[in-house]
C-alpha cells in the first residue's frame, strides 16, 4: 500500500482531468503541480500558460512563483502581460483555467479579496489577480480548494469572481460539479476513504450529493513518482 498526502490526491485528481493537448492557464501551487503532472504522465502535449506571459512552459521542477526564470527558458514564447490577458485569455484561446480561493459558495462564486467587511477587513487577502477573467474566458475553470466549512460558505464576504464558468471543484475529499439544471455544486466523486458525510460536515451549506457518487482511484505508483520528481530541488516551500 502506497501512502500519499491529501494534496497529492488533489493534484492527481486534477491532472487526470486534463487531456493531451489541453491548453491550461496555470497558477502557482497545486494547479502548477497538477498541470505539470499531466504533462509528465498521460498528457505530454498539454500546453502550460502562466500569467507572466510564458506560453508552452515546460519546467522540470515546480517554480515558486509564476515568473521564475525556468518558465521563460523552457517556454515556446514569452509575451507581455497585456498580450497574455488580451489576445490569449480574453481572446478565448484557453481550455482550462485553474483557480484557488479563500471562500467558495454553492454556485462556485469565489472570494480572494477579504475576510470580513471590505472597509474594515479581518483578513486582507491578495485580491483578484487574474481570477475574474480566467473564470469568464477559459472554456472550463477548475477550482482547487481544501474542504472546510470556513472555505465552503453559505455567503461570501466578497465576490471576487463569478462562478458561472466553474466546471469542477477538486477538494481533499472529492469532486463537486455544477448541476446541469440550476448550476448548484453537487458532490459527484469521492476520493478513496472519504465519505459523503465528511464532505457534508465540511460544507457550510446543505451539500447536495449525486444519486451515484463515483469513487476515484488512489494515485498510482507512477503518478506519485512523477509528482514527487517535480518538487523543487533545494526547498520544500511550495504552497498554494
Amino acid at each position: 500500500m502506497t501512502t500519499y498526502t491529501a494534496d497529492e490526491m488533489m493534484a492527481v485528481a486534477a491532472a487526470r482531468r486534463l487531456r493531451n493537448g489541453t491548453v491550461c492557464f496555470v497558477g502557482i501551487g497545486l494547479p502548477s503541480q497538477a498541470a505539470n503532472l499531466a504533462r509528465a504522465t498521460h498528457a505530454p502535449d498539454c500546453v502550460l500558460i502562466y500569467e507572466s506571459g510564458t506560453i508552452g512552459a515546460k519546467p522540470d521542477r515546480l517554480p515558486l512563483s509564476i515568473g521564475d526564470g525556468e518558465l521563460a527558458e523552457t517556454a515556446d514564447a514569452v509575451v507581455s502581460v497585456p498580450e497574455i490577458f488580451s489576445y490569449w485569455l480574453q481572446g478565448g484561446r484557453i481550455d482550462v483555467g485553474f483557480l484557488g480561493a479563500a471562500q467558495i459558495d454553492r454556485h462556485g462564486n469565489l472570494n480572494s479579496t477579504v475576510i470580513g467587511d471590505y472597509e474594515r477587513p479581518k483578513v486582507r487577502l491578495p485580491g483578484a489577480g487574474g481570477a475574474p477573467e480566467i473564470a469568464a474566458w477559459c472554456r472550463e475553470t477548475f477550482v482547487m480548494l481544501r474542504h472546510s466549512a470556513r472555505a465552503f460558505v453559505q455567503r461570501l464576504d466578497f465576490r471576487t469572481t463569478d462562478g458561472a464558468g466553474v466546471t469542477c471543484v477538486i477538494t481533499d475529499l472529492g469532486v463537486l460539479e455544477p448541476d446541469a439544471e440550476d448550476g448548484e455544486l453537487v458532490l459527484t466523486e469521492l476520493h478513496p476513504d472519504a465519505t459523503a458525510e465528511e464532505a457534508r460536515e465540511a460544507t457550510g451549506w446543505e451539500l447536495r450529493v449525486a444519486a451515484e457518487v463515483r469513487t476515484g482511484s488512489p494515485p498510482t505508483v507512477g503518478e506519485l513518482q512523477a509528482l514527487r520528481a517535480l518538487r523543487p530541488a533545494n526547498q520544500d516551500t511550495v504552497r498554494v
Binding site: I28, G29, E51, S52, G53, T54, P63, L64, S65, I66, G67, D68, G69, L71, A72, A77, V78, S80, V81, P82, F85, S86, L89, Q90, N109, T113, Y118, P121, K122, V123, R124, L125, P126, G127, A128, G129, G130, A131, P132, E133, A136, W137, F158, R159, T160, T161, D162, A164, P232, Q235, T237, V238, R239
Partner: protein
Amino acid sequence: MAEIVPLADAVRGLVHDGDVVALEGFTHLIPHAAGHELIRQQRRELTLVRMTPDVVYDQMIGMGCASKLVFSWGGNPGVGSLHRLRDAVERGWPEPLELEEHSHAGMAAAYAAGASGFPFGVVRGYEGTDLVERTRVASITCPFTGEQVAAVPAIRPDVGIIHAQQADERGNVQLWGICGVQKEVVLASSRTIVTVEEVVPELEWRSGAVFLPAWILTAVSVVPGGAHPSYAHGYYTRDNAFYVRWDEISRDRDRFRQWMDEHVLSPEAAAV
C-alpha cells in the same frame, strides 16, 4: 533624452512627495534598489501603482512612503501574505492605506491605454463581481456591436520605474525574458527611471527583447544586482529563499524595522 546618473540623483530630481509612482516588473526585473532609494529619501504620500505589489511594496508601505495603492494582486508569490500591506490595511500601521484594486486584465488594459494616450482601456470582465462597486470601472456599450464591455481609466503615472539588463552609453535600454508591463509603464509615465545591470558600448539586439530608446527615457542608473531578491535573466536567479524568509522578517513590526535599518537605511546599505 535619457541621462545616465546615479540612482540617488535620479530619485532626488524626479520623484516628489505626493507623486503617482509605478515600479513594475512581473516577478522578473523588479526594481528593488530603486524602491530602497525612495525609502532612504523618505518620500511620503505616494500613490503606489503596481499589478503585483510584493516584497518591494511591502517594504515601502511598511516604511510609510504610501498613502494609496493601486494594484491587482498583493501577496508574496508562492509564500503567502504581505504582512506590512495587511498591517496597513487592517490596522492602519504605520498609516492608513487607501486601496484601488483591479483584476490583472483590467490593470494591463489600463497601462496599455496609458501608453497609447487613450483615455481608457477595454476589458471583457468585472461583470458579476463585487469589484465593480469598489474600483474605478464603468460599463460601456460597443458602438458597432452593442456588446457591453468594461472601461478602465488609463494609468498615467508621474514616474515609472523599472529595472533592465543593459543600457548603452547613450542611454538606450534593452531588457529580455519575462517582460511584464515594463514597456507600457515607461510609455505611460511622464518621467522614467530605469536601473540597469550594466552599460555596454553597443547593445546587441536580441530577438523578443524589449527596446526602449533613450529619447523616451528620463534617467538611467547603473545598479548591478538592482533587482535582487527578484532576478535578472542572464545575470542572476530569483532568490526564492529570501522570499520565504521575508514572511518571517515582515510579520513583526520591530523585526521589520530592524531589518530595514540594517539592510536599507544604514550607511553601508546606502553605499551599495
